[in-house]
């Protein structure tokens, strides 16, 4: 039943003291804006990251060597050891669950301008790889081709360069493919350009700022025929759980290099699954935090509403007394107070939702307009989340009215009427 008088009265009491109602409602509105904006940013960040992770093979793993931390088999602690091609062969032969495996050598870009073209240059990382590397830690080609097996076999002087290197060394619109650049003073032909497949997940240097060379050519460049590797990357078939597998790999390599089986620090091994799990756990925590803070702020707003309602009930003692003398039952009075608090809270909350969503849009537009990294934090809030927020609001609104309603029915008609 739609009861006009009921709603008229409700509206009257809310608008009777506009300034107070608006100020009270602002607390709830603000809480809602906070909740929506924070939840929206969190949700957008998570969504963006998930999109990034889609380009990463969850079955991929990487490992590299480090100083030993325990003395073992006649060696002192703190010994430096290196991965080699032999380790690669060892793992390849012993682990059928590893589908693809390859090694990488790299040189950091801190030593002056190691990459030069037409007098222009910069300091960039160098990475020597085999073609299979791309299929494990996917590199996204922008133009041309990746390093192939013939490049490796013939130790060709070819390279693939990252997007930022292209930007630094070439004029806009200029095609780098087929041109020659000087890497450590040696001329290399550019056969491809690339960028990072994932903005947030990088192993070693960023593809954007890396010169990728055939591993055989890179070994020749450094004038030795050694077989050391800086990093081994592998991908499993995805059937075996990755954690026990990485532990077994560790023990295999430890025994080959005379390292104590209990030495946790001598080798760094990580699977993409670990990274994904850690990131997911982090975001789970972040989401909980966001909702705690948001609901806390909303709760503070609701307490404000409750407080003002108590004052209102106190001011309306006489009116409530009259109503009771005229036959209003306690239930009617309770309903009136609860609805008042509910309407005030809901109106304020809905304004908050609208403002919050609008603010999210604004933030999204600003980020999109100024985004240069390609990593788009896309703040947005789903309809479902909005409904959850609304449900919380409704519960809070009614809860906020409980105490004032209790106060209202404790008003004795006879006492209220005697006050003037």
């Amino acid at each position: 039943m739609f009861d006009i008088d009921f709603w008229q009265e409700l509206w009257h009491t809310i608008t009777a003291n506009k300034k107070r109602s608006v100020l009270t409602a602002f607390g709830v509105t603000w809480g809602m804006v906070m909740l929506i904006v924070m939840a929206g940013c969190g949700f957008g960040l998570k969504k963006s990251l998930n999109e990034q992770f889609e380009s990463v093979d969850a079955n991929a793993g990487i490992l590299f060597s480090n100083f030993t931390t325990e003395a073992y088999d006649g060696y002192k602690a703190g010994r430096w050891w290196q991965l080699t091609d032999d380790d690669l062969e060892l793992l390849r032969s012993q682990y059928p669950e590893i589908k693809r495996i390859t090694g990488e050598i790299s040189q950091g870009g801190g030593l002056g301008n190691n990459v030069v073209r037409n007098g222009q240059g910069g300091a960039y990382s160098l990475r020597g790889i085999e073609p299979v590397f791309q299929s494990i830690l996917s590199t996204k080609m922008l133009s041309g081709r990746y390093i192939n097996n013939i490049d490796i076999d013939q130790s060709r002087k070819v390279c693939v360069i990252g997007r930022k290197i292209v930007n630094a060394l070439y004029m806009p619109g200029e095609d780098p493919i087929g041109t020659t650049i000087q890497v450590n003073g040696i001329g290399f032909t550019v056969v491809g350009t690339c960028t990072d497949a994932s903005e947030s997940v990088n192993i070693g240097s960023e593809d954007d700022e890396t010169v990728i060379l055939p591993i055989s050519t890179m070994r020749l460049m450094f004038g030795s025929n050694n077989t050391t590797l800086d990093m081994i990357v592998f991908a499993t078939d995805g059937k075996a759980p990755i954690a026990p597998l990485t532990e077994r790999i560790r023990q295999t390599l430890y025994s080959a290099h005379h390292i104590s089986p209990t030495d946790k620090g001598a080798m760094w091994v990580m699977s993409m699954q670990d990274i994904l799990n850690k990131t997911n756990a982090l975001f789970g925590g972040l989401t909980i935090l966001i909702w705690l803070v948001g609901i806390g702020t909303l709760l503070a707003g609701a307490v404000g509403v409750s407080n003002i309602m108590l004052v209102t009930v106190r001011e309306r003692r006489q009116e409530i007394g009259i109503r009771r003398a005229l036959g209003a039952s306690p239930r009617v009075i309770i309903r009136q107070i609860l609805c008042e608090s509910f309407v005030l809270t809901s109106l304020a909350g809905i304004v908050g939702i609208v403002l919050g969503v609008w603010l999210l849009r604004l933030v999204a537009n600003i980020i999109t307009a100024s985004s240069d990294s390609g990593f788009v934090l896309n703040p947005q809030i789903s309809f479902g989340l909005t409904m959850v927020a609304l449900a919380i609001l409704i519960v809070l609104g009614i809860a906020a009215g409980l105490l004032p309603a209790q106060k209202a029915i404790s008003v004795k008609a006879v006492e209220a009427l005697q006050e003037e």
């Binding site: 008088d5 003398a325 036959g327 004795k412």
Partner: protein
């Protein structure tokens, strides 16, 4: 209509205050009764007990043949809404509602539909001569007009019993007379039982019976009708 036997009432506001000390009173249906007494004699308390706005400690109170004892708030509200109309010294109109809405309020609590409610309210406003003032707020009315609105409100639910607590206390003598004439007329035409508390002898003299209360007890009853 109603009967009180040995009603006692004590207030406990820090110190115990024995206000009513054994009231025995019977009011017949259709009677127009006044209660007189000095302030503090307990006359308003008695009216509140009769009106089910307050409870009593000892004795029995029967209204229309039913015992009114230990009523819950809900039961009391229901009884008030069905049987009793109130008129107060300070009018006690709701200031943000128009005269019409004020008059219609008791029917609202009885669940009467809005249209029917407003029709009846207009009819009763007409009876008290305020039809043209229906859309005015109480603050726009004079004291006498406000009390007439309050009377219309007390009558609209056709209560069997109308209780008036110093209905003329805030009015000048001319307006007072108008109000008392109105009450008298309603009592005669509608046959409603009326109990008014007053300290004005010229008002009390116009009723059927004057009940004098002194210090929490009925000191004597003046029967004017049969005198």
């Amino acid at each position: 209509m109603l009967e009180l036997q040995g009603i006692h009432k004590t207030y406990d506001n820090g110190a115990l205050l024995h206000v009513l000390k054994g009231i025995d009173l019977a009011v017949e249906e259709g009677e127009f009764v006044s209660i007189m007494g000095a302030s503090g004699s307990g006359k308003s308390t008695l009216l509140n007990i009769i009106g089910l706005l307050d409870n009593y400690d000892e004795g029995t109170y029967t209204l229309d043949g039913k015992l009114m004892k230990n009523l819950s708030e809900k039961e009391a509200a229901l009884m008030r809404s069905r049987y009793i109309g109130f008129i107060f010294q300070s009018f006690n109109l709701i200031n943000f509602k128009t005269a019409l809405e004020n008059v219609a309020l008791p029917l609202y609590y009885q669940g009467v539909p809005r249209r029917k409610r407003n029709e009846l309210a207009m009819e009763y406003l007409d009876k008290v001569g305020l039809k043209d003032w229906a859309t005015h707020l109480p603050t726009e009315l004079s004291g006498g007009q406000r009390q007439r609105v309050a009377i219309a409100r007390a009558l609209i639910a056709r209560p069997k019993l109308v209780l008036a607590d110093e209905p003329t206390g805030a009015l000048d003598s001319t307006t007072s007379q108008e109000v008392i004439d109105l009450l008298r007329e309603v009592n005669r035409t509608e046959g409603m039982t009326m109990i008014i508390v007053t300290h004005a002898p010229e008002i009390a003299r116009q009723t059927d019976k004057i009940i004098h209360i002194t210090d929490g007890l009925i000191s004597h009853v003046e029967d004017l009708k049969h005198a």
